[in-house]
């Protein structure tokens, strides 16, 4: 209750200042989903800042959660899915951290999450849901309660409000005021923005408020505490229409992560996160303009687009 409104005229900042809004121990909702529109540059900056002990919530995620697990910043995960689909399969760092007990496993399920976020959005202590019964999630979540419905006599599950301390989103466009335009599937980003105590965002481009109005505002400014312009901020996930998914880089990531914690540290984290003082250095490390041009080639038509997945 009583969540703040963010109304200052100019919320532009740099990536490091942006990341400073995240505090150790925060419950963090990461926007995007699977291989699209993950705030990867911000997460790399978070790793460099070393802000840990995080509790993650979300629906279907992949390299974002896996990377934070690999960097040791995660204390608990209440995601619904963390993996690389049929593309590369399981999430190696996530799996290792869960199995080692470093990450508390509090798996959830998409609609359960939606209902819990909706409770926070509407200032309610809980939301009812029917579709958890018969599953193991009730054991994983002792905070869920049951209610005999006073209308039907049926048993309903009550799931408590889930209010992330912070939602971190990557959008295609933003303005100085903090309005965000998300192109393509919003995944849970709008829910996160409304439920969280605050939103921080990276965007591919900051444009004028007039231009953003023309594009359409997906997340109104007053939810957003700060915004940083970070082109290619979702790499190696996709941020259309600017660039597609970097499958070779992700394959390399998955190979390193699968090879064990030590090799992931040496061969991936050192090279692409700790070894890159800033985002510009990262872009050079991933292959610079040749890589970026390749990822923009999806626009050349289906044949070029298909090549990105070979």
């Amino acid at each position: 209750m009583n969540a703040a409104m963010y109304t200052q005229a100019d919320k532009r900042t740099d990536l490091e200042t942006l990341i400073g809004y995240i505090r150790p121990g925060d419950c963090l909702a990461i926007g995007g989903g699977l291989s699209s529109r993950e705030p990867m540059a911000a997460l790399r900056a978070l790793i460099r800042a070393g802000t840990g002990d995080l509790e993650l919530i979300g629906s279907a995620h992949g390299i974002d959660v896996d990377l934070l697990c690999g960097a040791g910043l995660v204390a608990a995960s209440a995601e619904s899915y963390v993996g690389f689909e049929q593309d590369f399969g399981m999430a190696p760092n996530y799996r290792r951290a869960c199995e080692a007990g470093a990450v508390a496993v509090r798996d959830s399920c998409c609609y359960t999450l939606v209902q819990q976020l909706r409770a926070a959005i509407a200032g309610l202590p809980f939301m009812p849901i029917r579709s958890v019964k018969g599953s193991g999630f009730l054991d994983l979540h002792p905070e869920f309660k049951t209610l005999e419905c006073p209308y039907t006599g049926d048993e309903l599950i009550l799931v408590p409000a889930l209010r992330p301390d912070i939602a971190i989103l990557h959008a295609q466009y933003g303005d100085a005021h903090g309005n965000l335009h998300i192109a393509g599937p919003p995944v849970a980003d709008r829910l996160f923005a409304r439920a969280a105590k605050k939103v921080i965002a990276t965007v591919e481009q900051i444009v004028s408020t007039e231009e953003l109005q023309r594009l359409g505002v997906t997340v109104p400014y007053f939810y957003v505490a700060a915004v940083a312009e970070v082109a290619y901020g979702a790499h190696p996930t996709a941020c259309y229409p600017f660039y597609g998914y970097d499958r070779p880089h992700t394959a390399h990531y998955h190979t390193c992560a699968s090879a064990g914690a030590g090799r992931f540290e040496d061969e991936y984290l050192h090279r692409f996160v700790h070894g890159c003082p800033d985002h510009a250095a990262y872009l050079a490390a991933i292959g610079g303009s040749a890589t970026l041009e390749r990822l923009a080639s999806w626009k050349d038509g289906p044949d070029a687009w298909m090549k990105l997945y070979e």
Binding site: S80, Q86, C109, S131, G184, R190, Y245, W298, M306, Y309
Partner: protein
Amino acid sequence: MNEPRVDRCSLGEALIYRIARTIEDGILAFHGFGSPLVQLALHVAKRTHAPNLVLVAGATYAVNPMPPFLAPTSNDWVMDRGAECRLDIEELFDLAAAGRLGRMFLSGLQIDRWGNLNTTRLGTESLKLKLPGGGGGCNLACDARHLTLWTAAHRAVSDGRGARRLRLVERCDFITSPGHRAADGRTRKGMGLVGNGPDWLITELGVFDFDESGHVRLREVFPDTDTELVRANTAFEFPISEPVATTPLPPAAVCELIRSLDPLRIHERELRPEDRSRTFSGPDCRPERHA
């Protein structure tokens, strides 16, 4: 990647076709994410017997998209191109909860006789293997009117320590998505679930339906499998719908459709390497046995 042969269908194509045949026309169906066989099955159904299918793409929540090709990642703009309209995560799950999702498709690393699925973890006491998790599978298993279960990994494999690891298990280590009965025997109705539960389980060895008690029942085998093979790879006894039929195979036009929809043969990633070479000759084919 195997080059598909013109005169034969692959196991993957046969599975896609068989899954497609479980899809009624005029319903809303959702293919979830990370399941190319199901993604293709929905597109096949929509372009053949179910033109009025409301096809909702997993991860993008696009309705009736026309992807130029199948990508290996579901939340990719490839997968929602040409969509007629778009839902979001809330709307799709609300539709399911209100009884308007006609059919959903789920798989698991463990599947028991009642159609309970585990995609969460192996190990009951200690965590032995953390799986990616079920996404929205739990909610949708509860709410969808009907469920098609599938796996392309029914065949038992060695766990590397001399034991065989089964996919169709006596008991799931964790129930991610409920089937017809809980471990304690309670029925869906007894638990107050609104959906009707699974009515098909399609594997690379055979096709099951569910009997009145909610137990899987073998109905079909492939041209190159038989009841004994299915039994040898299943941890529990199961009833059989006699006579066991041979799974209907896709007509050539359907195979061509699948090949045009999935030029990168992404769906073969769901198959084990040894299954990728299983092929059958045409819709009225005779078995060509492997293994």
